[in-house]
């Protein structure tokens, strides 16, 4: 196959490309330029699309003996990921930009361009696996190494995208093995630190960055009954489940700490309350998709597992499509789930689908 290896400049994508070459594919490395004004050197563990990353990706391709190109997706990235990130926060939601990037850039814009230019598939360094059922339909599964499992951020992929996706690292037992393999293959990125943060926020401080991109509108911090407790400088400074930095002068009646329960940018309100009120028992979202073939009878409640963050917090649940929304009833409450986050549903290791969360139901309310 003609395979385009998406090369971030990190160790994972370099080893993934090496394995694709070894598997006999005709591989071309491509680094995605996502910023029009790349910095020169990466600081700490952050950031992509810097000159250093581009050079590291190029060095890896040279080592593998494959051609290398840089493709500019900065305009699309700004529209579909960065602007969306800002708009979501402005609407009081908590977006996942990596998910959006996979959905709109890597497995959409890049994939479309790659297919148009004659490639058969895209290979990335994600920790997840594509497997095929008896009829040859692709399924996305968790990686063997649960600590690195990235199936969550790939939950947005649909059948047509999975058909053209190759994840060579999904069956590797640990990241250490990948580093060792990179070292053995003579790849200079073997010891390069992992990147953790949001690539377009180079300093790593999301609140600070948002402050530069959104106008802060001061308002009130209120309790669940609407009583005003304090002033705030703008709702973007808050996140659901936040406890510190609320600066409410007087203690709660029960003397227990208060947490952010809801953010209402239109009303310029931040709602706070007791920790118990953060417990969520039900989730729903209109923007949902199936990762591969859709399950049958989705109007019936189906036993699944639900994950709402990139790592951890997986709970048993039931899922059904009701009135055009994916509804998920959690068998154990989850804390601090915010609209805008993505809920990914699994059956065993298989990713079934996902929805962007529109509404959550508090466990307290459900119990009443």
């Amino acid at each position: 196959m003609k395979v385009l290896a998406a090369m971030s400049g990190g160790v994972d994508s370099a080893v993934a490309a090496a394995r694709a070459v070894e598997a006999g594919h005709e591989v071309v490395g491509v680094h995605l330029a996502l910023s029009r004004m790349p910095g020169t050197l990466r600081t700490g563990s952050r950031g992509c699309c810097t000159i250093e990353d581009s050079m590291d990706a190029q060095r890896a391709c040279n080592k593998l003996g494959i051609p290398f190109y840089v493709w500019d997706f900065s305009e699309r990235f700004k529209q579909d990921v960065v602007d969306d990130f800002i708009a979501e926060y402005a609407a009081g939601r908590t977006p996942n930009p990596c998910m959006r990037c996979n959905e709109k850039i890597k497995f959409a814009a890049l994939m479309e361009k790659a297919l148009a230019l004659g490639f058969d598939a895209i290979c990335t360094g994600h920790y997840a696996s594509v497997e095929f059922d008896e009829d040859g339909n692709p399924e996305l599964h968790r990686s063997l190494e649960m600590a690195k499992d990235q199936s969550y951020v790939l939950g947005v992929l649909r059948t047509d995208q999975l058909q053209h996706a190759i994840f060579p690292l999904g069956k590797t037992a640990s990241k250490d093995l990948i580093r060792a393999e990179a070292d053995q293959r003579g790849l200079s990125v073997a010891k390069k630190p992992d990147s953790y943060d949001i690539c377009f926020i180079p300093e790593g401080d999301t609140r600070d960055w948002l402050g530069d991109h959104l106008e802060a509108e001061p308002g009130k911090i209120v309790d669940q009954d609407g009583n005003e407790l304090a002033d705030h400088d703008g709702t973007i400074g808050y996140t659901i489940g936040q406890r510190k930095g609320l600066r409410i002068g007087k203690p709660a009646a029960d003397g227990k700490p208060r947490y952010v329960l809801d953010i209402r940018p239109k009303e310029r309100e931040v709602v706070v309350g007791p920790q118990d009120a953060l417990q969520i028992s039900e989730i729903s979202g209109e923007r949902f998709s199936w990762c591969g073939i859709a399950p049958e009878n989705t109007d019936q409640w189906l036993s699944v597992d639900c994950q709402v963050r990139a790592h951890g917090d997986t709970v048993p649940a039931e899922m059904a499509i009701i009135d055009g929304s994916m509804r998920i009833r959690l068998s154990e409450a989850l804390y601090g789930v915010a609209p805008g986050q993505t809920a990914v549903v699994y059956q065993g290791t298989r990713v079934l689908g996902q929805t962007t969360i529109d509404e959550t139901v508090s466990a307290q309310a459900a119990n009443v």
Partner: protein, 389 residues
């Protein structure tokens, strides 16, 4: 077999240039040493200087060797600016938006660090300077102008500026003019003596010498502040031990390039015209970017509507044909060409262009291989361009 049609980026080492450099490398001595071996290498260096002076029609003492075109441009523009502001206040620098980054960034550095005021001379839709605007700026601001820097031929589009005309306007007021002649020298007839220039940049690797050698031609009566200080070599304008093997190599390459000028104008020009005619036959919607402008005979610049340059480049490269879009940043991102944007092209047009440049060893077979690859590349890149929206 790969076909190389990107000679404007760098052209392969000419055998005569390699031979000359090897001869220089065989003898080790500092050309400033007093002993006879030193005198010998000094002679080799000065022979090279004579040869370059003959090739560019200038005085031998006007040839200043250095490490590259970017250094030359920096030295000329900053050096003249500082010199002109020693005993007077002349803050205006005149240039154009279609210059090479070595000039653009230097001029902008003077603006941000030295308080210079830049006046950009417009170009028309085919890249030709607005000489009337230049004339009127010179007439109205002549006592404030420190330096004018305008390239002789554009490195992306091959458009030739009328440098003698620019100098005529400026020299009546004693304003020094620098020209980046990197794309022009060895590609068209150049006479420094007759141009009226104060300073002129010529780089070795665009002529068939190795990367890492260039000259700045500085008129005998022209003074400029040096960027580097040290042993006072090269009229104290470029201190540092002189790199005679590279100078010898550049001299040999330039001499041969100048000897080939008629051939380049006629034969290579015909090959370029054949290339463009054939591309237009295959892809009627292609735009010859600077058609009608006075341009270099070996440069073809085209806009492929609906395509992104990076897709075209990728498909041609995979097919074994090496060309250029003209501009890419340090991270390797192919952006819209600032030259085309400066000519008033849209970002989309500036994104979908190709620069094909022929060189001393180009053949019809090379062009035919390009012609065989361009149609499928255009179709593929257009498909990719559509999906990118």
């Amino acid at each position: 077999m790969k076909v190389f049609l990107d000679h404007a980026s760098t052209t392969p080492l000419r055998p005569v240039a390699k031979k000359a450099m090897m001869e220089g490398l065989e003898i080790a001595a500092n050309p400033s040493s007093v002993h006879s071996l030193g005198q010998h290498t000094r002679n080799l260096l000065e022979d090279a200087r004579d040869s370059i002076a003959a090739s560019l029609d200038c005085n031998r003492s006007e040839v200043i060797f250095n490490s590259g075109g970017t250094e030359s441009d920096n030295q000329a523009i900053k050096g003249l600016y500082w010199q002109r502001n020693k005993n007077a206040s002349r803050k205006v620098v005149i240039s154009s938006k279609t210059e090479h980054h070595a000039v653009l960034d230097t001029v902008e550095w003077l603006e941000s660090h030295e308080g210079a005021e830049i006046i950009w001379i417009d170009v028309d839709s085919v890249g030709q300077l607005d000489y009337q605007q230049l004339e009127s700026v010179i007439q109205s601001r002549h006592d404030q102008i420190a330096v004018i820097s305008l390239m002789w031929a554009n490195n992306e589009t091959g458009v030739i500026h009328d440098i003698p005309r620019v100098c005529e306007m400026a020299n009546q007021f004693g304003i020094p003019v620098h020209s980046d002649a990197i794309a022009a020298a060895g590609h068209m007839p150049i006479s420094f003596k007759q141009s009226g220039l104060a300073a002129m940049t010529v780089s070795g690797h665009k002529l068939g010498a190795p990367i890492g050698v260039a000259v700045l031609i500085v008129g005998r009566s022209v003074k400029l502040e040096s960027l580097v200080h040290g042993g006072g070599q090269e009229r104290a304008m470029r201190s540092g031990t002189m790199n005679y093997p590279m100078a010898m190599s550049m001299a040999a390459a330039l001499k041969q390039a100048v000897a080939e000028l008629d051939w380049r104008e006629k034969e290579l020009g015909e090959l370029r015209d054949y290339l463009e005619t054939e591309v237009q036959k295959r892809i009627p919607e292609v735009e010859i970017t600077v058609q009608g402008a006075n341009r270099l005979p070996d440069n073809s610049h085209m806009i492929f509507p609906g395509c992104q340059g990076d897709s075209l480049l990728f498909l041609l490269d995979i097919a074994g044909v090496e060309v250029s879009t003209g501009s890419a940043c340090q991270a390797g991102v192919i952006g819209p060409s600032h030259v085309l944007l400066g000519m008033g092209k849209t970002e989309e047009e500036a994104n979908g262009c190709l620069r094909i440049t022929l060189g001393y060893n180009s053949t019809k077979a090379d062009v035919d291989k390009f012609l065989g690859a361009i149609s499928p590349a255009f179709t593929g890149a257009k498909r990719a361009g559509l999906s990118a929206r």
